[in-house]
């Protein structure tokens, strides 16, 4: 058995770090792990996608319609990664929109669309919690806490300072995300 997770967000949000944290947590829990990272132009503001699989795994990449979880640090990117969701998979979305060029999107309209989609979904306020902690840079650590709860994984080794606090806040939030 293997669990497949697709992480998405916008460049600069810490998507790669988030996936690595989850991978390290899974490794410390005794699972075999594969994480597929995409590195290209190191521009900020572009779509970022990282695939994580753990359990009995060989291949690193999740195919469309094959993800148990799609985790989005940004709501518009959740729509873009929607195609990866497996039937019955769970979409975990940070309540935040980073404006794409050309058109203005309201967070509520995007969240509404996701909720209407019929997919199992869970919208979480990682961005708001991160701001309460002092900076948007903690939003990925909040998401990490939520995922630790959802996936039944421990806190990854080496997480320190404010990130630990963010993890804990997320872990508590994670309880409300269970469906």
């Amino acid at each position: 058995m293997a669990t497949s997770v697709v992480f998405v967000g916008v460049g600069g949000q810490g998507v790669v770090t988030l996936a690595r944290w989850v991978g390290e947590a899974a490794l410390s829990a005794g699972y075999d792990v594969r994480i597929a990272e995409i590195h290209g132009v190191s521009q900020r503001g572009g779509s970022v996608e990282v695939h994580l699989r753990f359990g009995e795994v060989y291949a690193a990449v999740v195919e469309e319609g094959g993800a148990d979880y799609v985790v989005a640090l940004e709501a518009l990117e959740a729509l873009r990664a929607y195609r990866y969701l497996k039937e019955g998979g769970l979409l975990v979305v940070n309540r935040r929109v980073i404006q794409p060029p050309g058109r203005w999107f309201n967070v509520e309209e995007v969240v509404e669309a996701i909720k209407r989609s019929g997919a199992r979904s869970c919208v979480v306020p990682c961005f708001d919690v991160a701001l309460e902690l002092g900076s948007p840079v903690y939003e990925n650590a909040v998401m990490l806490g939520i995922l630790a709860r959802l996936l039944g994984l421990p806190q990854p080794p080496g997480l320190d300072g404010r990130n630990r606090e963010a993890f804990q806040r997320g872990f508590n939030l994670g309880a409300s995300c269970r469906l």
Binding site: V10, G23, I35, Q43, A59, V61, E64, R83, L85, Q99
Partner: protein
Amino acid sequence: MKSLLLGNEAIAYGVLAAGVAVAASYPGTPATEILETLERFKDRFVTWATNEKTAFELAYGAAVAGARSLVSMKHVGLNVAADPLHSSAYTGVEGGLLIAVADDPWMHSSQNEQDSRWYGLQSYIPVLEPSDPAEAYTMAKEGLSLSERLRHPVLLRSVTRVSHVRAPVEVEPPAPPRWGSFRRDPERLCLVPANARRRRAELVEKWRRVEETAAGYVWTEGEGDVVVVAAGVAYTYVKEALRRLRTEAKVVKLGMSVPVPPKVADLVGQSAVVVEEGDPVVEMQLRALGVRTAGKLDGFFPRYGELDVGRVAAGLAKALGIAYKPPTPPRPPMEPPPRPPALCPGCPHMGTFYVLKIATAGLNPVWSGDIGCYSLGVNMEQQDVITHMGSSLGLGLGIAVASRRFVVATVGDSTFFHSSLPQLVNLISSSVPILVVVMDNSYTAMTGGQPSPSRVTPVEKLTEALGIPTFVIDPARIKESVEAVKRAVEVVKQGRPAVVVSKRPCTLVALRRARAAGVEVPKYWVDVDKCVGCSLCYGLLRCSAIAPRGDRKAYIDPALCTGCGMCAEVCPTGAIKGERERWLEIWRQA
């Protein structure tokens, strides 16, 4: 203890465990992290070279002198190094020489999708092909020793899904570096025709020994009437696809995909399904050995893009006559808006493109581009042709000669040193009037900010010494820069080439430095009463930190603004406010 390593990190630790002493590379995705990892080990000679050829030659020379050495690059870089690559097989090496090359199927960040294994066949250099990071570690380590044992270079072919996959790898501590000492042997090392002819005959002979070695890199697992031959990363997809199809098969895994040893034909029997990433390199070798194959040649697997479990399962099912229904991807409830790659907020290139647009207005220039962050100028309609490293000056010259159009050739500083210097000399001696713009941000920024030669050799000193009129601008200072570029344009209009050096360090590097030094970066904001919604800041300058609100007035996202203040300079109504002078000064030093 096992740690989650990128395939590229694993390659680095592999050669470290084998006592690598010398390593050189030119950065390129997906290969960059190999040298980045080695850079941390100060007891070795590790260097970023000006291009892949110079990197190859450095490592090759070290190996000729008996040191264990590594050269790494991306697939297209191997073309640049192809000349010494072929010679290296003729001379052989004294110490180990591992050539680590990362291919990029589906071109996540490349201009073409080439399979480096062809170079192995063409140059008579064996190719090891790991399937995952753990194997990348082992093969890098063994590959270096193997090279030394064969006294022959060895190529390690990775792909994006090995180089950029993290997986658990058990790493041994680095072995002490193995340096060498040069022994004269001109009959072997001087490839004048008389010597080279002898070497060629020996090379063909040597290839037989290499085939015997390759037989040691064949692993068989599983049982069944069906035989599947898998090389490299394809093996991982085969394992999962067979599980999905609930099919038993004998899997023959090739760790060395060039050459495929004749012994494999006995193992395989009469027919096999062949799964590999890239071109049908293994499949063609198997057919040459008389094996009937089902693979890419007959279209069971696609000949472009990456493989994945779904594609491999579908191909296996078709080849074996098994019914298979792939999962259907769900459709999103709302179409996601495109988020096209854009220059980072505050990117100096954004300013340069804006300045060039204004200064060449009315000339309708041909924009001859190059490989680097500034390729993104393609979204600003300011790149008409981009084909390879060095294409801007090279093709630009030809386009100018043929079409008599006004050509603007844009090239980054790292690329300038990589492959444009001889072209610049060519340009001057052929006296073709084109405008060369060196976008000098002091780093190889596209691959994450490796230092560029411009940090020690100022581009403008070099072009001035070559006698070409040179204009230096700071792209964050839009108005001054437009005036300077107009003067450069005048020189070109009068029939002489001119160079503009646009200097400001990469924003991301500057921000990292500022954060480390605790420097506060200013944020710009829009005075909504003064903004008239003219769109210059988000439409023409195209700063990605600025978005149009519903009423077309500008909104600057404070989380994205990097305080460059270019928007304030282009704003005709003075609606954009901020204070940048101290920050620009600190940034310039980055």
